[in-house]
Symmetry: C2
Subunit: 396 residues, 2 copies
């Protein structure tokens, strides 16, 4: 209980903590098979390379790395990041439009801080990433869910909501969406960029999974269809180098970026230099592309293994077949309750995330999200077997 | 200019960016002597030790370090931090009351997020640290300045303000205060803890400089006089290991700490594991105390050198004689304008921070803050000589 006379800020009134972070605690139990997180495979974490690089950068540039850095970024990383972005995308990236952040989590926080007043409307995909939904809730945004189909979020629904609700932001994950696994089609990317301009809202394009593509072709980002600065691109090295390093970035129109940098002065002053320096070396030594190449086959095999297991699930089980990313989204028949079954699944040694947590308005208890990257093939086989049996016993 | 139809959040209406961070840009000019920052001496940054430690921890625990970590902290660091706190202080530190943060900047942000609604009153020392004043302004706090004298902030003034303004928070830097260099007396520490309980406000005790004591004895923290949880203690390894690593912590009553942890899920998810692991090794291998011992003499010599230079400044120049920390605060005679003179000083090759930026209500243009730790003895002699001449020419 709070000491007498103290009280919490009202922004917490409806926020009780991320369900995923709470679920993480369950995962610490021995022998738990977890399909719950969004963790990269341990095999995919370049610990040997990082050990060597950390030693080298601290030996060669240690004084600068250990000293206070610029909010705008560790200069060598900012340089190589800009070069990397300009090679990878057709949008303009330079020092006035790029800001390193402490993971893309911190980028999300900065955009909310820069743009949102309490009560502002934010459009979100339904379902969407629950962590960032919590951030939006802490900024007391009015979340309006937008329906999706197999091509991703539906532009006609975005337009309808824009007319009705005058949103300030639209938060969207274009590639291998979390949790649905869906990828937004090319035409829809163009449409969303146009709608942002037409209705004057900011698109927050959250793209952490882009490079984890196992089939099909890369699509241009929404931001590449944006001429005037209505799209903020949010990137991350969490899924392709290491999440524990916490290095991400924002690409935004320069006034928006400047506002984010001012906000960042008060959230962490700057992203730790060492972490930026390590990722810098991955870019500078051209280690990133081969590293990604080396992890993709293993992820693809895991995804396919999990999909094969799903084929044998009870009749009426539907699920996405993503072209990349880390997640499968499963829809059981109406009446099935994956939320209620969660505790039972954990008792049996398997964790997932009930789909309801990804829906701004809750419900959808017949859905769940499965992560395949964090488990071994053996764990996928065993864990999916346990779920299959449990689910079969609990069909409505 | 912002694209049409977009607008920034109102929390930025009165915030234009930290003056210090802007001044930092000036410092990049070649041969600039900077008394402006709060930078540790380059000699004091343990780059060789960190290079070795980073390599070792990534080799021995790299998979865990590079994977997602717990918002509550990297377990070995949390353990050694708690042990360190319990050895150093009489307040209770355990897993329910301690949270690692991405520098104490992030700790400040989390406390504001947990506690402050727009319009809430926050008491601050006058003058106080401008960076955190900006954070308070971004939370749209109503700042009420509290007068100080040579023993630090005056409890009778705190009580008067508590009665009049019903504050939610009192932000205070007890040791070698930034910018004044003053240390809060023992009796006043007790009084402030009592006032917090009596009037039901939270004390935010920001203590980054404590271990940089060059004379006199350590005093107990305000938190050590707090039984019920009215004091949050904010610590940092920035001044005693490295600011670039961004590792700090909060010690708070458990409900407050839990709220901060939920807030942290959305600001950076967790403080980077590698950075926590490096500081962990400083604690675990007992490198911290000898490292601090090794840097204190150099800092003391620099402070004394700067004080000696100040003795020869124009008549009427007054300044603090701190027992530790990184800053001297100078008060020139009324009518002198250190704010106006700043550009001229920079032209002549020396930077400081005009004191006005540290006052919640501005004014005090006859004051300035000088940092001695970031310069060499030669730079102190030369830079102070330049300031002495410039100031003598510009006496009112």
């Amino acid at each position: 209980m709070l000491p007498e006379g103290l009280s919490f800020a009202t922004r917490f009134d409806k926020v009780t903590g991320s369900a995923i972070r709470e679920i993480f605690k369950v995962l610490a139990r021995p022998n738990m098979i977890s399909f719950a997180g969004g963790n990269p495979s341990l095999d995919a974490l370049p610990d040997e390379a990082c050990a060597k690089i950390a030693e080298e950068v601290l030996s060669s540039d240690g004084k600068r790395i250990l000293q206070y850095g610029a909010t705008e970024g560790y200069p060598p990383f900012l340089e190589s990041l800009i070069e990397y972005l300009n090679k990878s995308y057709s949008f303009k990236a330079d020092k006035s439009t790029v800001l390193p952040t402490t993971g893309s989590t911190a980028g999300m926080e900065l955009i909310c801080k820069a743009m949102l007043n309490p009560g502002d409307t934010v459009l979100v995909e339904s379902p969407t990433f629950l962590g960032n939904m919590q951030t939006l809730n802490l900024y007391q945004a009015n979340l309006v869910p937008i329906a999706s189909d197999d091509e991703g979020v539906i532009p006609e629904e975005v337009e309808k909501a824009a007319q009705e609700h005058h949103p300030k932001l639209f938060y969207v994950i274009p590639n291998f969406q979390n949790p649905s696994g869906r990828t937004l089609s090319l035409e829809r990317r163009k449409s969303i960029a146009q709608l942002a301009k037409k209705y004057g809202f900011l698109v927050l394009e959250d793209d952490p999974y882009r490079d984890l593509r196992y089939s099909g072709e890369h699509l241009p980002t929404i931001k590449e269809f944006d001429e005037e600065g209505y799209v903020v691109y949010m990137g991350s090295f969490s899924k392709i180098v290491s999440p524990g390093l916490r290095v991400g970035y924002l690409v935004a129109q320069q006034d928006i970026l400047r506002k984010c940098a001012i906000g960042k002065q008060g959230t962490d002053l700057h992203t730790p230099n060492l972490n930026q320096a390590i990722v810098d070396q991955f870019l500078r030594r051209e280690l990133l592309a081969p590293h990604i190449e080396s992890i993709l086959p293993g992820y693809r095999v895991k995804m396919e293994a999990m999909l094969r297991e799903l084929e044998t699930f009870p009749e009426g089980t539907r699920y996405t077949r993503p072209e990349g990313g880390l997640f499968l989204f499963v829809e059981m028949p109406e009446g099935f309750n994956a939320t209620k079954l969660f505790d039972k699944a954990v008792e049996n040694g398997v964790a997932y995330v009930p789909g309801t947590f990804f829906y701004p308005d809750g419900g959808h208890h017949n859905t769940l999200r499965l992560n395949f990257s964090g488990s071994t093939l053996e764990q996928i086989k065993e864990g999916m077997g346990i779920l299959r049996t449990l689910f079969a016993e609990n069909m409505a």
